[in-house]
C-alpha cells in the first residue's frame, strides 16, 4: 500500500510515485477529453487530483521542500515569467502584424497578449502581498489565489459562453454574430 496503514503516513518516495501516477492519469484523461470533445471531465479530474495530492502531501512527514528550494523556485519563477513575457509579446506583435496573411493569427495574438497581462497582474498582486504582509500566512495566500482564479475563470467563461461576437452555424453556413475578432471555424457547419 502507498499509505502506511499503521500511522497513516507516507514516505517522500511513495508520494513521488503517486504524483507520477496522477500525471499519467491526467495525460490520459486530457487526451481522451480532446478526442471525445468533453471538457468538463478533465476539469473535474484536475480538481480531484489536486485535492488528493494536497491531502497526501500532508501525510508526508519528511521535508519535501526547504528555504533553499523556495529561494530557487522564486528566482526560477521570476526568470520564467520574464522569458515568457518577452517571447509572448514579440510573438504577439509578429502575429498581429501578419494577421492579413492568416486571420487565425489574430486570436492567437490576443490570447498571448491577455495571458501575458494576466501573468504580470498575478505576479504584481502576489509580490505586493509578500512584500507587505507576512510570508507564512498560507490560508490567506490560498484564499487570494482561489479568488483571482475564480475571477479570471468567470471573465473567461462569460466571454466564451456569452454567444456575443461569434460565428453561428445556420443552414450549413457560418454566419457572423456581432463582430468576432477571429475567422470563421474551419470545421464543416452542419
Amino acid at each position: 500500500m502507498l499509505i502506511n496503514s499503521n500511522n497513516k503516513t507516507m514516505t517522500l518516495k511513495q508520494f513521488k510515485i503517486v504524483k507520477l501516477a496522477v500525471v499519467f492519469l491526467l495525460a490520459v484523461v486530457f487526451s481522451q477529453a480532446i478526442i471525445f470533445k468533453n471538457y468538463l471531465i478533465p476539469i473535474i479530474v484536475l480538481i480531484i487530483c489536486y485535492l488528493v495530492l494536497f491531502y497526501l502531501r500532508g501525510r508526508v512527514k519528511e521535508i519535501i521542500a526547504d528555504e533553499r528550494d523556495y529561494l530557487t523556485g522564486g528566482k526560477s519563477a521570476l526568470l520564467a515569467i520574464q522569458i515568457y513575457s518577452w517571447v509572448a509579446v514579440i510573438a504577439m506583435f509578429i502575429l498581429y502584424a501578419n494577421r492579413d496573411l492568416n486571420p487565425a493569427y489574430e486570436p492567437v495574438a490576443m490570447t498571448l497578449a491577455y495571458s501575458t497581462c494576466i501573468l504580470m497582474l498575478l505576479y504584481a498582486i502576489i509580490f505586493r502581498y509578500y512584500n507587505k504582509y507576512k510570508l507564512n500566512d498560507k490560508k490567506l495566500i490560498y484564499t487570494i489565489l482561489v479568488l483571482v482564479l475564480f475571477i479570471v475563470l468567470a471573465i473567461f467563461s462569460a466571454r466564451l459562453f456569452s454567444g456575443e461576437d461569434n460565428w453561428i452555424c445556420k443552414n450549413g453556413e457560418w454566419i457572423k454574430h456581432g463582430q468576432p475578432s477571429f475567422a470563421a471555424p474551419s470545421v464543416e457547419c452542419k
Partner: protein, 62 residues
Amino acid sequence: MENKIKELRTKLNITQEELANQAGVRRETIVFLEQGKYNPSLKLAHDVALALKTTIDKLFIF
C-alpha cells in the same frame, strides 16, 4: 560563505541526513551549506549551530 559545518559535523560523528533532519531541511541543503554555495537564513544558521552545539559566529566565518 565559508563555514566549519563539515568539520564540526565530523567531530560530532553525525551524518548529513541527521543534521538535515535536526535543522529541518533537506540533505542537499546541508551539502550546499558545507560547500559554501548557499547562504542560509538567520533561522537556518541558528538551527544548524544548535544541532552542532555551537553558535552562529563560531560556525560561520564572516
